[in-house]
């Protein structure tokens, strides 16, 4: 087990190194610079370049960046002068993390209930309705759902605030719902098929033959065994949440890293774009790693492969 975790950790560090390298060199060949203001004199540009260390040879810039990144230092923002990128991200990361965690928890719990209800009422009206809901949940991108929620509950029936963060909990409700829809739909579909499979498995047949009631069979045997594999979905779901949260933060004016990322694209704030890219990739990789380790703990067959 430890060997497996160690192997995965080394791969993670190597992948992160590749991401840092790729982003660094991509940024070098990006068209345009942030210093395009016609008012800037050549001297001023030279001054700016030396402030940001852009006058050094490329390999030295790369080495500096690599060493800095390893220490969590991603340079200084072009856009907000004297603001280190790590500080900008540090302020915003908890907000994005809270939003993502809320959406994941709400989505997975809703999905567990809906999936179980769907499987138990297989092929009747409840199953059909939940099937429609979960298919819709997969096909509606979260930002469109966000827009619909803003229109319905922000403007048409003003029940919830539609922008901002941190003043009240009610501000988090609509963005969380918008983001939770897709994890909920994925979980529902997954739990339904897992549970239908385990309801027809031998150990459930045995439990029925033993004379347990239908409720006991489902709660004690079928449900528990169909819930565990849901853990394996957390990695892929986190990937979807990363994309979704960027736009959701923009729609609901939430000051998270997604919003920062979007704002830094038109202003060509390369240090911020690079920093966010690395943080995003690291977050996704850690989520996938946790998922895989949990899967390996639960299902020993994975380790042998």
């Amino acid at each position: 087990m430890w060997k497996y975790i160690l192997k995965r950790l080394l791969l993670l560090i190597f992948t992160l190194f590749l991401v840092v390298t790729a982003t660094f060199f991509l940024m070098q060949i990006m068209p345009g610079t942030p210093f395009t203001n016609p008012k800037l004199t050549p001297e001023a540009i030279a001054q700016l370049k030396s402030t940001y260390g852009l006058d050094l040879p490329l390999w030295q810039q790369y080495l500096n960046y690599l060493i800095g990144a390893a220490h969590g230092d991603f340079g200084i923002s072009f856009q907000y002068q004297n603001q280190p990128v790590s500080m900008l991200i540090g302020q915003r990361l908890p907000i994005s993390a809270q939003l993502g965690a809320q959406a994941l928890v709400v989505g997975v719990i809703a999905g567990l209930f809906m999936g179980a209800a769907s499987a138990r009422n297989k092929n009747n009206k409840i199953d059909g309705t939940l099937g429609i809901i979960s298919t819709l949940g997969i096909s509606i991108p979260s930002f469109i759902l966000g827009i619909i929620l803003v229109y319905l509950f922000g403007f048409k029936w003003p029940l919830f605030p539609v922008s901002g963060w941190g003043d009240s909990f009610s501000q988090t409700i609509l963005p969380t719902l918008a983001l939770a829809m897709s994890p909920a739909a994925i979980t529902t579909r997954f739990v339904r098929s897992e549970m239908i499979e385990s309801l027809s498995s031998d150990y459930v047949q045995l439990a029925k033959a033993k004379g347990l009631s239908a409720k006991e069979v489902v709660n004690q045997h079928a449900y528990r065994n169909s819930m565990i594999p849901v853990l394996t979905l957390i990695g892929p779901m986190a990937a979807g949440l990363l994309t979704g949260s960027t736009l959701i933060e923009q729609i609901f004016s939430i000051p998270g890293i997604g919003q920062q990322f979007v704002l830094s694209i038109p202003s060509k704030d390369f240090p911020v774009i690079m920093g966010t890219t690395i943080v995003y990739s690291a977050m996704l990789m850690v989520m996938i790693l946790i998922t895989d380790i949990l899967t390996a703990i639960i299902d020993p067959r994975v380790r042998l492969q």
Partner: protein, 343 residues
Amino acid sequence: MAANTEDFVIVGAQNSEANEHISKPALSFWQDAWRRLKLNKLAVISLWFLIFILAFAVLSNIFVPQKNANAFNSDKVGVYKNLPPNSGLPIPGWNGKIKAPGDTTATNVYESQGVPENKKFILGTDNIGRSVAKRVTVGLRISLLVAIVATLIDLFVGVAYGVFSGWKGGWIDNVMQRIIEILSSIPNLIIVTMLGLLLGGGVLSIILAIAMTGWLGMARQVRNMTLTLKERDYVLAAKSLGESSFKIAIKHLIPNMAGTIIVQIMMTVPSAIMFEAVLSAINLGVKPPTASLGSLISDAQAMLQFYPYQILIPSAVLVLVSLAFILLGDGLRDAFDPRASED
């Protein structure tokens, strides 16, 4: 035994030849899949809907050229702005009346803006007076073009990569799989954004950016199928007859995994449509005045409070198209692999 046969009469068949008669025609794999697909009403509706949408997108080139949709509706700037959808019929919400900001009753904007009686915008106009119906038509066309071309690239790259990796096996397969693992641990959003930034705006760069992320899933599926199929006897037979690897892949491997590939395509198209919209929302989409579903949605976001139809119409089109692809994909998966959905 002989005595017994006199007591029993065989009913239904006169002779052994009739017993052997096969009354139903033998179905090929595709005929059988089609028969099962037809039983799934939602999938059939989705199929017809998608055929209609594709035909509409292609044929609309004649009636609604790109230039036409970008044009303002009057020589005078500032006329015909934000006209609500008007069907010409007294249907609430579709009769040309809308509540102006601050008002409590709906007024007919068509009259107050002095639009000629016979001129009606069935889906309204946007904030600079362009017909939403025309914009959405063009937008749908561009979004579908982006999604379908990106998916085709994914198809070629993913299938080639997957078959090669699975067929070669050994260390080549190992290295190729590690590459996929590394690429798939980088968020798609990041890859799409980076490429979008690198290539600049425009339809071609969006297609390439989306195609770069979509092939991973296809490659993985195809590789797994190749690993299974290459152990089959007919592949061994082809090999021992001296068939080249390339021919085996084209003639034996790919046709036998066509079902998996088609289902995967049905999943890639909606995600490509979604990523096009994401790129538009972060200012890396098509360049104005070109319209795509994504750019229509992100441009109309500011108008949501007072003119919601401007954003809800392209959103609804995007969701319906994605939904149809997903429903058809689900139906096809069940049709190709009946065991997976037996109960």
